[in-house]
C-alpha cells in the first residue's frame, strides 16, 4: 500500500531546456490561499479564552484592552491558518487505519532496540557518576540550593517535604 503511494510522487521524464523554462515560468498555487485572513470558525476565542491561556502560559492575566484585542486576533488568525492542516488530504492520509501517534525522527521510534529491563535501569543508576561536562559536580544535591525554612518542613540530604498545617496549628 505504502509503496504504491510512494510511486505516485516520482516522475520519469527528463526535461529539455525549453520545458524547464516553461515550467519555471508557471505558477502552481499561491501561499495567499493559506495566509489570507480567514477567522471562520474561530468565534469561540473570547477574552475569557485568552485569560485562561495567559494563565496557562505563566503570564500576567491583566493586559490592556488594546493588547487583549491584538492577542485574540493573533489566536484567531493562527487558528484560521492551522485549519489548513485539513486541506489537501491525500487518500493515504485520510484512509489510514493506523492508531494515531506522534511522528518523530528518532531512531528509537523506527528501529527500536531491546527494551530496557528493571535490572538494566538499576545498573545504570548504580553506575551513575557526576559528569563535569554537563555541569554536574560531586557535591551537588537536589535540595542543596534550597534556602527555604518553611515551618514544619523537613530538609535533609535526600529529600524535602512540606508538612501540611493541621487544624490544631491553624487555630
Amino acid at each position: 500500500m505504502l509503496l504504491r503511494n510512494l510511486r505516485r510522487y516520482s516522475t520519469t521524464s527528463r526535461l529539455t531546456k525549453e520545458e524547464v523554462k516553461a515550467l519555471l515560468k508557471s505558477t502552481h498555487w499561491s501561499i495567499e490561499s493559506l495566509t489570507a485572513s480567514n477567522q471562520t470558525g474561530t468565534d469561540a476565542i473570547k477574552p475569557k479564552t485568552l485569560s485562561k491561556m495567559l494563565k496557562l502560559s505563566g503570564f500576567q492575566e491583566s493586559v490592556s484592552k488594546e493588547r487583549e484585542q491584538v492577542l485574540i486576533n493573533s489566536l484567531r488568525t493562527q487558528m484560521g491558518f492551522i485549519n489548513h492542516l485539513y486541506d489537501n488530504q491525500s487518500d493515504a492520509l485520510a484512509q489510514t487505519d493506523e492508531p494515531l501517534h506522534s511522528f518523530r525522527l528518532l531512531v528509537s521510534d523506527h528501529q527500536p532496540g531491546s527494551p530496557l529491563t528493571l535490572n538494566d535501569i538499576k545498573d545504570q543508576i548504580k553506575n551513575q557518576v557526576p559528569d563535569s561536562t554537563k555541569g554536574e559536580t560531586q557535591e551537588w544535591g537536589a535540595t542543596h540550593n534550597s534556602k527555604s525554612n518553611i515551618e514544619g518542613s523537613k530538609i535533609d540530604d535526600e529529600y524535602f517535604t512540606v508538612k501540611p498545617f493541621s487544624n490544631e496549628e491553624t487555630k
Binding site: L23, L24, H28, T35, M53, S57, F59, G135, I150
Partner: protein
C-alpha cells in the same frame, strides 16, 4: 510609530560592530594552536549555544545568564583549533526570520551599503558576521530555515545537516523535534571541514544518531552514489512554484538549472503534494514545542527577575513568575507561547497530532522521489528513476528593508511565515539542505536523509 520602532531596532550596543552582529565578545582572545584541523580559523556562536561566556538567546529573560557547561559542538570546535570571537545576535529564542525580534536590536545586512536591510533570521548575527568577513565561520541553529534564510540574504553559504547529525547538547531548545545545528561560511571547504569535526555521535544528546546508524547511512549513500563527475538527477518540486516567488528568484532558479543541464545533469519535475500543508504543520509543531520548552524560564532559579527571589513571600511566587515572564520575554515569544498553548489545549482540538501526521506523509512523499532509500524510517526500496537532489531558490521574496519587513508583519503576521515555504519541508522531513549564493540571490539544494556528501558535491558543481 513604525519609524520609532525602526530607529530602536537600529540601535547598536557596540560601536565597533557596524552590523549589530554581536551580543558579546570574549574579554581576551586566545592565540590558537597549530596543527589542528581548524587551526587559524576564527568562529562565532549564535547566542543560544552555551559556552563559558554568557548565553542570552537575545532575551531579557536570560540577559544575566551564564551556563555551567558548554555545548558539545562548541567544545569540539575549540578542541580542533577554532578560535572563538564572540556570540552573535539572533531572534529571541530563535523565533523569527528577520533578526528584528532581539532584545539587543536588529542585526543589519552587510551585503547592502544602505544598512537598512534585514540580515534574516533567526541566525542573523551569524550570517552578518561571516558576510562582513569578521570570522571564517559561525555556528547557528536551523529549526525551519534559520541558517539557510539569513545565509541567503547575506550572500554566504548556510548548511543544515540531517536531523540528529550534529549534537544539540548545550544548545537552547526552541522546537526540539526540528532543531538542528548548522554551519555558515563563505566557502565549501570551510563548511565541509567544520562538518567533519561535528559529525559524530554524542551520548549526551538523546536525538544524536548512533554510530551504527551513521555507518549504515554512509553505506546506503555510497550504494546509490553515481560517483564523482557522473551526472546527477535533479528534481524541481512543482509545489515551490508559487505566485509570490519574486521574478529575481525565478530567474536565478532558471539560470542555475540551465547551468546544471549544460554540465550534463538530468532535470526532472517532481511533485510533493504535502508541501502545501507544511507551513501549517510546521507552525503547529514549532509553537507547541516552544510553549513546552520555554515553560522552564521562571526567573527564580536563574535569569531575569523583577525582584530578588529571597525577598519574596512564598504566597506570591506564582505572581512573581508571571511578572518575570511577562517582562522578560519579548512580544513575539509571548505570542508564540500563547499560540502553542492554545494549539495544545482541549479548547482548540488535537492539531499537534494532526500536524505530525502531515509530517509523516511528507517524509513518505520525499521517500518516493529520491533515488536513495531512507534508512532512518526503514523505507528501504530504492527508486531507480528517482532524484539525487532537489533544487529551488532559498527564499520566496527578495531581502526587504527593516521598515518593509515590519510593516508587512504588522499588516498580517502570517506574511512573515510565508517566506519560510521553501525551507520548512526539509526541516519537517529532517533532510540535509544547503543555501549557496547564486548571483544576487541564493539556491537551495536538498537531498535524502543522511546523504550529505551528494549534497556537497551538487553544491560544488554549481559553485565551481
Amino acid at each position: 510609530m513604525l519609524s520609532r520602532r525602526v530607529r530602536t531596532f537600529k540601535r547598536h550596543l557596540n560601536t565597533n560592530d557596524a552590523y549589530n552582529a554581536f551580543i558579546s565578545k570574549p574579554s581576551s582572545v586566545s592565540p590558537g594552536v597549530d596543527g589542528r584541523i581548524l587551526s587559524h580559523l576564527t568562529y562565532t556562536l549564535k547566542d543560544n549555544f552555551m559556552n563559558s561566556d554568557s548565553t542570552t538567546c537575545a532575551s531579557k529573560l536570560l540577559s544575566n545568564f551564564k551556563s555551567p557547561y558548554s555545548a558539545t559542538a562548541a567544545s569540539l570546535i575549540d578542541e580542533n583549533g577554532g578560535q572563538f570571537r564572540g556570540k552573535n545576535n539572533m531572534d529571541e529564542f530563535g523565533m523569527g526570520s528577520s533578526n528584528t525580534n532581539s532584545y539587543y536590536g536588529a542585526a543589519t545586512n552587510p551585503k547592502y551599503e544602505d544598512g537598512d536591510r534585514i540580515a534574516g533570521g533567526s541566525s542573523g548575527g551569524s550570517a552578518a558576521a561571516v558576510s562582513a568577513g569578521v570570522v571564517n565561520f559561525s555556528l547557528g541553529t536551523d529549526t525551519g530555515g534559520s541558517v539557510r534564510l539569513p545565509a541567503s540574504y547575506c550572500g554566504v553559504i548556510g548548511f543544515k545537516p540531517s536531523y540528529g547529525r550534529i549534537s544539540r547538547w548545550g544548545v537552547v531548545a526552541y522546537a526540539q523535534s526540528l532543531d538542528t545545528v548548522g554551519i555558515l561560511a563563505r566557502d565549501m571547504d570551510t563548511v565541509e571541514k567544520v562538518y567533519g569535526v561535528l559529525n559524530r555521535h554524542d551520548e549526551k544528546d538523546p536525538t544524536s544518531l548512533p554510530a551504527g546508524i551513521r555507518d549504515m547511512l554512509q553505506s546506503v549513500e555510497e550504494a546509490v552514489d553515481p560517483g564523482a563527475g557522473e551526472g546527477l538527477t535533479i528534481g524541481i518540486p512543482q509545489e515551490f512554484l508559487v505566485k509570490e516567488l519574486s521574478p529575481q528568484n525565478r530567474e536565478c532558479w532558471l539560470n542555475a538549472v540551465e547551468r546544471l543541464q549544460d554540465m550534463g545533469h538530468t532535470i526532472k519535475r517532481i511533485s510533493i503534494p504535502s508541501i502545501k500543508s507544511s507551513l501549517s504543520a510546521y507552525y503547529t509543531i514549532a509553537t507547541a514545542e516552544a510553549a513546552s520548552n520555554l515553560s522552564r524560564y521562571d526567573g527564580l532559579r536563574y535569569g531575569f527577575s523583577q525582584e530578588a527571589p529571597e525577598d519574596v513571600d512564598l504566597d506570591t511566587v506564582s505572581a512573581l513568575i508571571a511578572k518575570n515572564r511577562s517582562l522578560g520575554f519579548g512580544p513575539e515569544v509571548q505570542k508564540r507561547i500563547l499560540l502553542g498553548n492554545y494549539t495544545l489545549s482541549s479548547d482548540s482540538g488535537n492539531h499537534y497530532l494532526k500536524a505530525t501526521q502531515v509530517r509523516k506523509q511528507l517524509v513518505h512523499e520525499f521517500n518516493g522521489i529520491f533515488k536513495s532509500p531512507n534508512f532512518l524510517t526503514n523505507s528501504l526500496d530504492a527508486q531507480e528513476d528517482g532524484c539525487d537532489v532537489l533544487i529551488s531558490p532559498t527564499s520566496v521574496g527578495d531581502t526587504p528593508t527593516i521598515e518593509e519587513f515590519l510593516r508587512n508583519d504588522a499588516d498580517n503576521f502570517l506574511n512573515s511565515y510565508a517566506n519560510d515555504l521553501l525551507t520548512i519541508p526539509a526541516s519537517l522531513a529532517g533532510l540535509p539542505a544547503i543555501s549557496i549564493p547564486w548571483g544576487n540571490q541564493s539556491i537551495q539544494i536538498m537531498s535524502q536523509f543522511g546523504n550529505e556528501h551528494i549534497l556537497f558535491r551538487a553544491s560544488r558543481y554549481l559553485l565551481n
